[in-house]
């Protein structure tokens, strides 16, 4: 049994949520939440087991249908994949637990469960796929379930935001698919392992990579293609916002990293990685400045996502030179993705509690929150530590590594961006957190609407995620070890 599970791990991680999804829909009211909880509970040990297997025995490959690439489709789990699957399962479990009470048994929200399980399965499928066409299908699954979740509340702003998101997502997918087509035409395979050997930086190869990158950048909401993200992430129901910001944008980023760092070699496409780095830096500045100007909490948090996505893209220029700096950048970039996932979901969950209790999320009306909802305020504040990249937090380890990679690779200007971005983040975080300590009781208007303390499971989920992001900053070494398992040659730390 144990052996069987070990062999089938990647497939099981995809099958469990995908099986739960239609059953949650089929069984409907009454059983959908139980189905989701069961799936979430089953996924945890599987994800942990996968990470353990990868650390102990190295990267896992799984030939679907027994064919293997390039004829069939392969699943592959290296440290990066296992990390993303693990963070998905942790965030997923806590969002599920939070959602049980948040959505309750409101008829309107019964679609949350199947859609969310589909999203979960799609994310696992995406993080485990080693086939660029299969990734197209995964991308579509992720996008469509995400869009449907945004529209879940049926509020007008949410529907329009969902539509905007949908159009951007489909367009992104088409660009990506066109790139896949060119790759197949030029190199004769859609299997990543095969492509790694055959990809050439010729005209078709460059065009294919450019198209895929454009599509994925649109889907990741990298500045200046971020226009769809803030309305979608801020108008969705809060558990949905949490999943979107924490996990969904990382999906397309994951493929970008695979393509650039693993399949193609950045030095074969000179200049392009610098462009991505510049866009990332612009995202940090632009997103933070916009966050500073927002009047609504969820909008601010959404713009913070735009900014934080920027850090991920510093990975490309920092890793392009290889050597120790590339290795540092690799750990820093992925560590950032993980700690941002935990902290940002904590923030959205906390914002959801605020909305549910006080009926609004206007910043000016959040004074004195630390007295009215101490645990919620604490969760938000602790998540803010990671967002600012201050120790002890996962965000700090990530920024430390990025700064180290900048200086180590002689590109100190990215270090300036990282430090400046942290200060900007501090500015917008304290814009929110500062007034939590304000004394004026009338600050929290609509207080007669307050149904009282939020359920322990909701506060607990938000706090657990925020604490998780902090713990990474102290006890993050196992995660770093995991990230480095089977890392692509460029970033494996071997000096060229």
């Amino acid at each position: 049994m144990g052996d069987w599970v070990t062999q089938q791990l990647p497939a099981l991680l995809i099958l469990v949520p995908f099986t739960a999804a239609p059953f949650a829909y089929l069984l409907g009211a009454g059983y959908d939440r139980q189905t989701a909880l069961l799936s979430a509970a089953l996924t945890q040990p599987l994800a942990a087991f996968l990470a353990l297997t990868v650390v102990q025995e190295g990267p896992v490959r799984y030939a679907i249908g027994g064919w293997g690439g390039p004829l069939g489709i392969e699943l592959a789990a290296d440290g990066f994949s296992a990390t993303m699957v693990l963070v998905t399962s942790v965030v997923g479990l806590l969002v599920t637990v939070y959602g049980l009470r948040y959505f309750g048994d409101l008829e309107r929200y019964r679609f949350f469960w199947p859609l969310w399980l589909f999203l979960w399965g799609s994310l696992n499928a995406l993080f485990l796929s080693a086939d660029i066409f299969n990734l197209y299908v995964c991308l579509e699954l992720v996008s469509m379930s995400a869009v449907a979740l945004v529209g879940l509340t049926l509020r007008r702003e949410a529907l329009v935001a969902a539509m905007r998101y949908m159009l951007a997502a489909i367009l992104g997918s088409l660009f990506y698919l066109l790139g896949v087509a060119l790759f197949y035409g030029a190199f004769g395979s859609v299997d990543m392992a095969t492509l790694r050997e055959t990809v050439r930086p010729d005209v078709a190869g460059q065009a294919g990579l450019a198209l895929m990158t454009a599509g994925l950048v649109l889907k990741t909401a990298l500045f200046p293609l971020h226009f769809w993200l803030p309305p979608a992430h801020s108008n969705a129901a809060s558990p949905v916002s949490a999943v979107l910001s924490a996990l969904v944008v990382k999906g397309s980023f994951f493929i970008l990293v695979r393509l650039w760092i693993d399949v193609a070699q950045p030095e074969a496409f000179p200049g392009a990685s610098v462009v991505l780095g510049v866009l990332g830096s612009s995202a940090i500045v632009w997103g933070s400045v916009q966050a500073l100007r927002q009047e609504r909490l969820k909008m601010l948090v959404a713009y913070s996502t735009v900014a934080q996505i920027g850090y991920l893209f510093l990975l490309f220029p920092l890793a392009s030179g290889g050597g120790q700096a590339a290795s540092d950048a690799w750990v820093g970039g992925i560590f950032h993705a993980v700690s941002h996932a935990l902290a940002k979901s904590a923030m959205f969950l906390a914002a959801g509690i605020v909305l549910a209790r006080f009926g609004h999320d206007r910043l000016e009306g959040l004074g004195g929150l630390s007295r009215r909802a101490p645990v919620t305020a604490m969760a938000f504040g602790l998540a803010g530590v990671t967002m600012m990249g201050l120790p002890p937090s996962g965000g700090f380890i990530a920024k430390w590594q990025l700064i180290k990679a900048s200086i180590g690779s002689g590109q100190w200007w990215w270090a300036v961006v990282v430090v400046a971005g942290g200060l900007l983040a501090a500015a917008y975080m304290f814009r929110v957190v500062g007034p939590f300590f304000a004394r004026e009781a009338e600050d929290l208007d609509d207080s007669d609407l307050d149904p009282g303390p939020s359920p322990v499971t909701m506060d607990g989920a938000a706090l657990a995620l925020a604490l998780g992001a902090l713990v990474l900053g102290v006890a993050g070494q196992p995660l770093i070890d995991l990230i480095m398992v089977g890392a692509p040659a460029l970033v494996a730390g071997v000096t060229p």
Partner: protein, 228 residues
């Protein structure tokens, strides 16, 4: 805005054009591999072999997309009456007669398509689409959901294909193989079982998509109650 869009499109066009023209004249790709393994796939049509065996996983996910989109559409059409006209205000006698004649024929055609998919173009999608079309035709001629079809049964019809497909996938794992690894002697049977149930689901999905988008739920319910 327009100028920028035009410039963007021109840029993408030039990039694409150059890429297409620069591609190697011939590139075998995986065609030889498919050719070589066709016998073990359980079907004779190479495209079907790719879809259902070599890359059956893509198809599994594609069914997931379909079910997901259906659930998504249904999630949008819940509550709130719309302003678009219902499917059909009243049954047109000519259309109704035609539908009654055509529907059984279409079911038969779909059965053929399902069977033919093994060696020629065809398969569950084509078969399901034809039944779906029959359903749409019936809906247009005033028929609605028969009373014996419960909400649960509808949901079951929508999801059964995906669930059976998942079951086969899991079954192959329990039998000692990997996901969707069909033993060559069972491959054909399994594929046909999956295809049959997929046909049911695809038909149910297409009909549901049509009805859910075309007719506001409240009006549909009213008609269902009054006429059936």
């Amino acid at each position: 805005m327009r100028a920028a869009a035009l410039a963007l499109c021109a840029g993408v066009g030039v990039l694409l054009g150059r890429a297409v023209l620069s591609m190697p004249e011939t590139e075998a790709g995986v065609a030889p591999l498919i050719e070589a393994n066709l016998a073990a796939s359980g079907v004779k049509n190479p495209v079907t072999a790719v879809l259902l065996n070599f890359r059956g996983y893509d198809t599994l996910l594609e069914i997931a997309v379909l079910v997901l989109a259906t659930i998504g559409v249904l999630s949008l059409s819940a509550s709130k009456p719309g302003t678009w006209a219902p499917v059909a205000a009243q049954a047109d006698p000519v259309l109704s007669a035609l539908a009654r004649f055509l529907a059984p024929v279409m079911v038969l055609v779909s059965g053929y398509l399902l069977w033919a998919g093994e060696h020629a173009p065809g398969g569950a999608f084509q078969a399901g689409s034809v039944i779906g079309a029959a359903g749409v035709l019936l809906a247009l001629s005033g028929y609605a959901r028969p009373a014996w079809v419960s909400r649960f049964a509808l949901r079951a019809a929508i999801s059964v294909g995906f669930i059976v497909f998942l079951g086969t996938a899991a079954g192959s794992m329990l039998a000692g193989g990997t996901l969707l690894e069909y033993p060559p002697e069972l491959a054909k049977t399994l594929i046909i079982v999956v295809e049959t149930w997929l046909t049911v689901s695809i038909a149910a999905i297409l009909i549901s998509l049509f009805i859910a988008s075309a007719s506001p739920a409240e009006q549909l319910r009213r008609r269902t109650e009054s006429e059936w």
